[in-house]
Symmetry: C2
Subunit: 185 residues, 2 copies
Amino acid sequence: MLRGDITEAIQAAVVEELAAVGYGRLSIEAVARRAGVAKTAVYRRWGSKLAMVLEIVAGVAGRKLPLPDTGTLSGDLTVFLQILTIALRHPLASQIIPDLLAEAARNPEIAQTLQQALRANQHEIGSLLVGRAIERGELPEGADPDLAVDLIVGPIYWRLTVNRDPLPPDYVPRLVTAVIAALSA
Amino acid sequence: MLRGDITEAIQAAVVEELAAVGYGRLSIEAVARRAGVAKTAVYRRWGSKLAMVLEIVAGVAGRKLPLPDTGTLSGDLTVFLQILTIALRHPLASQIIPDLLAEAARNPEIAQTLQQALRANQHEIGSLLVGRAIERGELPEGADPDLAVDLIVGPIYWRLTVNRDPLPPDYVPRLVTAVIAALSA
DNA sequence: CAGCGACGCAACGGTTGCGTCGCGACGTTG
DNA sequence: CAACGTCGCGACGCAACCGTTGCGTCGCTG
């Protein structure tokens, strides 16, 4: 019954508005304005700003990253890090992700939605990468997939999103060798 | 001329309000209300919400962490990580830091203030830790202090503040050995 | 072709915050 | 004691947004 093109316009507007002003300052009026849509069209779909954002965010964050098997741990890590750096550099992502994380610190529903979307994905990637490497004999049996994820994602996120430093050109390969050394210990 | 106790009450109120609702939703009215102070008292001190927050944040974020010399790299790292985990777990810090980082992504003045306060401190800590370790022969000559900081702070920040997972009891020592292995490569 | 529902539009009363102003009270300074 | 400046208080007009309502239009469905 609800027109699909309008729903999509609203979703896109929410994402843009989220990037522009953040969840705290996001208003239904501004979303409708940006979507070129009447406020009533929004309220017909969602009962509140929270419900609207939760549904849209869950939809976007739930997508899985493709994770090719390059044949070596170092290759897998390099590909994964490159995908990650591109994603984190995306203007929309680099504004929305920190904002939602900040909001998650005070809103349990947002926190739960983000965790549900991210944690499973993250654990799966870690298990996959480390599992393959162990099968190949590149890592010892006891290597911890969750620690691996922290070691891979943490430094990149810290540098790109928190510190907002540009990446030195050889940063990714150096990080890859460092992570492999760390996991082999 | 301006009463010091009132200034302090306002500063404390700003910090609390920042934690409670974030920079985006922070209002002068709420700050004055929380501080038990008239709105005019705030406007006598700062001309705008941005100026007020910047001055207060710079004052808090500029403080330096003590960094004892334990005699070994592993000891230094352990102490530093423990201080860091305690700081990041602090309720006020864990809400305010992500919020300001998110706001920094859209407000250059906030970004600059944070960078100025954090980057220098961070680089100094990295250089100090790595420098000592190289002198002791615990790390090779070429070890990169900035990469070291990413490897130390990134995983902890990721797990504590982004993922909001509790730390497994032996996480810090395992991270320490992993980091040392990574930096030795 | 008749009916239904989503649509845009405009307006509603209510809330919140903005930045400013004038007032009288209080305490310090000269 | 007189002057000054900060203080709290309350109010101002203005703007934005809230969530809801009623209206007429449009397009699909039966």
